[in-house]
Amino acid sequence: MSEIHSDPPAGAAPAPEKAYSVRAEKLGLFLRNPMGMFGLILVIMFFVSAIFAPVFATHDPLALDIPARMAGPSADHWAGTDQLGRDTYSRVLYGGRVALKVAMIGVSVALITGLVLGMLAGFGPRWLDNFLLLVFDTIRSFPTVVLALAAVALLGPSMELVLAIVIVTTIPGYARLARTSTLALKNTEFILAERSLGASTARILFVHIMPNVIGPMLILAAMDVPVVVTIEAGLSFLGLGVQPPTASWGTILNEGYLIIRDTPWMVIAGGIPLVLTTLGFTFLGEALRDVFDPKLRRGQ
């Protein structure tokens, strides 16, 4: 794996009046990337549809209509109805809110924890580094679903548990990235200078190292959203995550799978937003990475 690091600000930094044009050039590069724009549109759609779900929904996602159960798409029910006659289109919209919540909380907590642990591993003493690496390797040795199954066996299914699993399994990725970047920066001259001026470790880590580490990590976060959304949907599909009657893409797929011989519409309607969201964040993350940090390309 290649060493990943951003340019240190000292020495390599462009002159101030040039900095603006570099930024504008990168923005231009991004705007001219069709895949990136496509991804951005999908991501915006995901945010808007989840946040404004009550506005776009045509029905109450929990309202039953037994006579109209398992119907195909119609003018009234755009994506058909489920086994209890609930409107699938509205349920899919509300399911997006669950996905958004898990993605936002999960990714941000994992990012911050991973950042701190990774910087400590990279900057701290050798034994701490070795210990943390061992812990990360151990976490990685549990396949996510198996870890989730074991955890659910003990604690019972809940959304909080899904969040905890998402956070625990994605921390090593962030921490490893932060560690490699920190190691690369550790012995650079500007850090050495700061240290000889008597700066505390906390100051060096958070004021000087963090700004250089955070960029690639934000890109990794964008690319991690699909992973997190998929874990939530997958666990809810197995009945181990969000519990009925709450709508989630996973529970819709689960209920649709049980009646797949009667109506194909639920597994189609429940799957499409999942695919669009993962595609959107993947395209967006790749475009951001190509523009801002071509070096990261090999690392992942």
Binding site: M1, M35, L134, V135, D137, T138, R140, S141, F142, P143, T144, V145, V146, L149, A150, A151, V152, A153, L154, L155, P226, T230, A233, G234, F237, L238, L253, G256, Y257, I260, R261, P264, V267, I268, G271, L274, V275, T278, L279, T282, F283, E286, R297, R298
Partner: protein, 314 residues
């Protein structure tokens, strides 16, 4: 080489012990008392006491942990709470199904993904490169459990080409392979794109090396350059990635086993979690982790055997 092997083996053992420890602590930190969870609320005090003594639950937790480690080292994974069968026996029956699925999925992904990656690296920006690029991002973004559901919908229910559930009749190899097609397709699809991208990236790098340019200058046939000199080097990082990604592959097999109602370790874990049969869950999770650790170990050893540079940097 021997030194490297020793270090790598020690690390694997430490990881397995740590993972078992974590699992053990989790299983023993369940709110409530493990005896009543295992036996249910209606067990009599005598039965509970007998069970506690049998499972060493009356001893301190570190003592239990070492007993458990000792048993595991002897191949004893405990006993099924319900059927009283040794867990190792049950897992021994289920493991071949999981391994067959994982190998089949990985096999077709390697057979398609690596050539695709090679072709798009040989002709960058050609139509085949573009198609591969879009295809690989697309397949990576498709969750494997969704591929499973949608392929059942398309191939089994709508087109009726493929069987829906089960692993086929025992002893009938053709039928078993027939039942393996859809699950292997679903589990492996994401890997096709993943491998194609990885091979493309490392091939592009290798093709820019001086020794490849020299080979060209000597007038070697292009096919010989690619397959004899470039590919063996370019494929090294991919081997490591297959090892590291094997955990994800196992997650995929868990979903496929549940959705296609196939026997296998993942399905056993799922069923036994729902049945709260903890000794089986514990044993099966342990076997899964061991499988993962062994595969990464094999991948690392393979790379270090093929690439002497790795041995020195470890």
């Amino acid at each position: 080489m021997l030194w490297y092997l020793m270090k790598r083996l020690c690390l694997s053992v430490i990881i397995i012990v740590m993972a078992v420890g974590a699992l053990f602590i989790m299983l023993h930190s369940i709110p409530g008392d493990p005896v009543s969870i295992a036996l249910g609320p209606r067990a009599t005090p005598e039965v509970q006491a007998a069970y506690a003594a049998k499972m060493h639950l009356d001893k301190p937790i570190y003592y239990q942990f070492f007993i458990f480690l000792g048993d595991v080292a002897q191949g004893d994974l405990g006993v099924d709470v319900f059927s009283n069968r040794p867990v190792a026996l049950t897992l021994g029956e289920q493991l071949p199904y999981t391994i067959a699925l994982a190998v089949a999925a990985l096999g077709w992904a390697i057979a398609i993904g690596i050539p695709l990656g090679c072709l798009s690296a040989i002709w960058p920006n050609s139509w085949i490169d573009r198609v591969t690029g879009i295809l690989s991002v697309g397949t990576i973004a498709l969750p494997s459990f969704l591929v499973s559901i949608w392929s059942i919908l398309l191939f089994s229910i709508t087109l009726r080409w493929m069987p829906v559930i089960g692993a086929g009749d025992e002893g009938d190899i053709v039928d078993q392979l027939y039942h393996l097609v859809l699950p292997a397709f679903a589990v492996g699809l994401g890997w096709v794109g993943y491998l194609a991208r990885m091979v493309r990236a490392s091939m592009l790098e290798v093709m820019g090396e001086n020794y490849i340019r020299s080979a060209r200058a000597f007038g070697l046939p292009p096919a010989r350059i690619v397959f004899r000199y470039a590919l063996p080097v370019a494929v090294l990082p991919t081997i490591t990635l297959i090892g590291v990604g094997f955990g994800g592959l196992l997650s995929g097999t868990v979903f496929a086993e549940i959705i296609f109602s196939r026997p296998g370790v993942g399905r056993i874990i799922y069923d036994m979690v729902l049945a709260r049969n903890f000794p089986v869950v514990q044993g099966a999770v342990l076997v899964t982790i061991a499988l993962y650790v062994v595969v990464t170990l094999i991948a690392d050893l393979l790379v270090s055997w093929l690439d002497p540079r790795v041995r020195d940097t470890f």
